[in-house]
């Protein structure tokens, strides 16, 4: 069962070095690009946490490590106290990736049902949950349409619906509103806010700083794979003597 007072997410000395050479696997950990450098991070249960940084800062790499999508060079990832190698830890995470990565052979409904299945749901539960998500994300009219035939906004909605399908405790949103119009962005955030209000932990990366400021209770700034600051939006403004998060961001990145 769940453990009380256990952080939703803990990164301990997380390091990832990408091997750029063709034979890089022979020299794992010695050459290549250091994307995440001994990163320690803790996100408490129920938090709305923002991870901000420029392109190449290591945000997506850190998320990939949390979701078992890369081979980490060193360090440890714990989700609600369990290592990411455990099936239970993985079942607690819902990921909406930055890039659209939908299965082209499946319809909207099948995409959700099969995802539920991969994450341990039975047929009936997955079917009923899929219908719930289809309504929640306004995909009813496209229920039996395959992913390649959806519009950009519909794909984004489906990605988010898929991430939430198995009722994860920790939802990771990697730039979920990149390239999304204002209306849909508001719609997505309203759903995410509701989800958070109900106790789901949210880890968000975004380039929209005003969005992070409005939504996140706590923000971490990273650059070059290292943590450079971490606090609430108010705390960061105070620390950097800045009027808003954009100013904080500029000052923090310059000083890093």
């Amino acid at each position: 069962m769940y453990q009380d007072d256990v952080p939703a997410l803990e990164l301990r000395g997380l390091t990832k070095r990408y091997d750029d050479t063709r034979a890089g696997w022979r020299r794992q950990g010695t050459g290549g690009t250091l994307a995440v450098d001994n990163l320690d991070l803790e996100v408490h249960d129920g938090a709305f946490f923002g991870l901000l940084g420029p392109n190449g800062a290591g945000k997506t790499t850190a998320i990939s490590a949390i979701c078992n999508l890369i081979r980490v060079t060193a360090g440890e990832v714990l989700v609600f106290g369990e290592p990411i190698t455990s099936l239970r830890a993985r079942s607690w995470i819902g990921l909406a990736e930055q890039d659209v990565n939908l299965d082209r052979f499946l319809t909207v409904r099948e995409t959700l049902i099969y995802h539920g299945g991969y994450f341990g749901m039975g047929k009936e539960e997955a079917e009923s949950r899929a219908e719930e998500m289809i309504d929640a994300f306004d995909l009813r009219a496209k229920r039996d349409v395959r992913a390649p035939k959806l519009s950009g906004g519909q794909r984004r909605r489906l990605l988010l619906a898929r991430a939430l399908m198995h009722r994860p405790r920790l939802v990771i949103l990697d730039e979920p509103t990149a390239g999304v119009d204002f209306e849909l962005r508001q719609e997505l955030w309203s759903y995410i806010r509701r989800l958070h209000a109900e106790g789901t932990t949210i880890l968000l990366t975004t380039h929209y700083l005003e969005e992070a400021e409005a939504l996140c209770e706590e923000i971490a700034l990273i650059r070059g794979g290292k943590l450079i600051a971490r606090d609430s939006a108010d705390g960061l403004r105070e620390r950097y003597e800045a009027a808003n998060l954009s100013d904080v961001y500029v000052k923090a990145m310059r000083s890093a």
Binding site: C67, L69, R71, L87, N101, F105, G117, F119, G120, G199
Partner: protein, 263 residues
């Protein structure tokens, strides 16, 4: 709105079953390309080579020619389908990156391997059984040794579905997997004794045929269907198993280590 799930112990078995179902669904959704097309092309071989040449080539090793070529054609169609199914499904999953949905899910690597391999086995089996049914009607062929037939079909399908999975994981482009299919598997299948008995070949071609792994699969299929083979059934099954095991272990190793699947 939300009740957080999965506090119980997960085994990953459910996920594996859904992945296997997804892989078979893909085959079923594209059945005209995945099943009908290979059945029709193999059927054309039976009709053109078997029925038209059977008037001139009376029999080979005491077997009517139209029946003689059936086992090899079934083996060829099955192994090519199992291979191309899994090389394309794996490459597609990597290319579209929806493999991440599977890699991030609560499944053990061995369950992912089984889930993917099942698709190729399913497709190869549909083709094999379909062709066999048509061949029975068209040529009057019967099954001499059902147990041997089942064993060789199972081993061939595991071997080529696993090998297709490996190639799909390593492939850098669509051309990589079609290269293996067209430059390696197809020629080996053609010179594997499908259309002739290797005993009829002059030296050194007869001896060289014994280095062709598909030769043993064709021979085992022929033994299962006709009770006739150029080599011992045990040797054929042994060679096929000796290839199927490492191919499967290789696919499993890739899922376990994440090599080529995870950066």
């Amino acid at each position: 709105m939300e009740a957080h799930g999965h506090t119980e112990q997960l085994s990953g078995a459910q996920g594996m079953a859904w992945l296997a179902k997804r892989e078979t669904l893909r085959v079923s959704k594209l059945w005209t390309q995945t099943v009908l097309a290979p059945v029709v092309s193999s059927l054309l071989f039976i009709l053109v080579f078997g029925l038209s040449l059977s008037g001139r080539v009376r029999n080979v090793s005491g077997v009517e020619y139209d029946q003689f070529i059936v086992p090899g054609l079934i083996a060829m169609a099955m192994v090519q389908a199992a291979f191309s199914n899994n090389s394309s499904t794996m490459f597609q999953a990597r290319f579209d990156r929806y493999i991440n949905d599977i890699l991030s899910s609560p499944m053990h690597p061995w369950q992912m391997t089984i889930g993917f391999v099942v698709g190729g086995i399913y497709r190869g089996l549909l083709i094999g059984v379909g062709l066999l049914a048509l061949a029975i009607v068209l040529t009057g062929i019967s099954i001499a040794h059902p147990a041997a037939l089942i064993a060789v079909m199972a081993l061939c399908l595991v071997l080529f579905a696993a090998f297709g999975t490996v190639v799909g994981i390593y492939a850098q482009s669509w051309d990589s997997s079609s290269f293996i299919a067209n430059i390696v598997i197809l020629p080996l299948a053609f010179v594997g004794g499908t259309f002739y008995s290797v005993e009829l070949l002059p030296s050194p071609w007869e001896e060289l045929s014994h280095f062709n792994p598909i030769f043993y699969m064709v021979q085992a299929m022929r033994f299962g269907l006709l009770g006739e083979s150029d080599v011992s059934i045990w040797l054929s099954l042994g060679v096929t198993a000796a290839l199927a095991v490492p191919a499967y272990v290789w696919a499993q190793w890739l899922f376990t280590t994440g090599r080529k699947l995870k950066a």
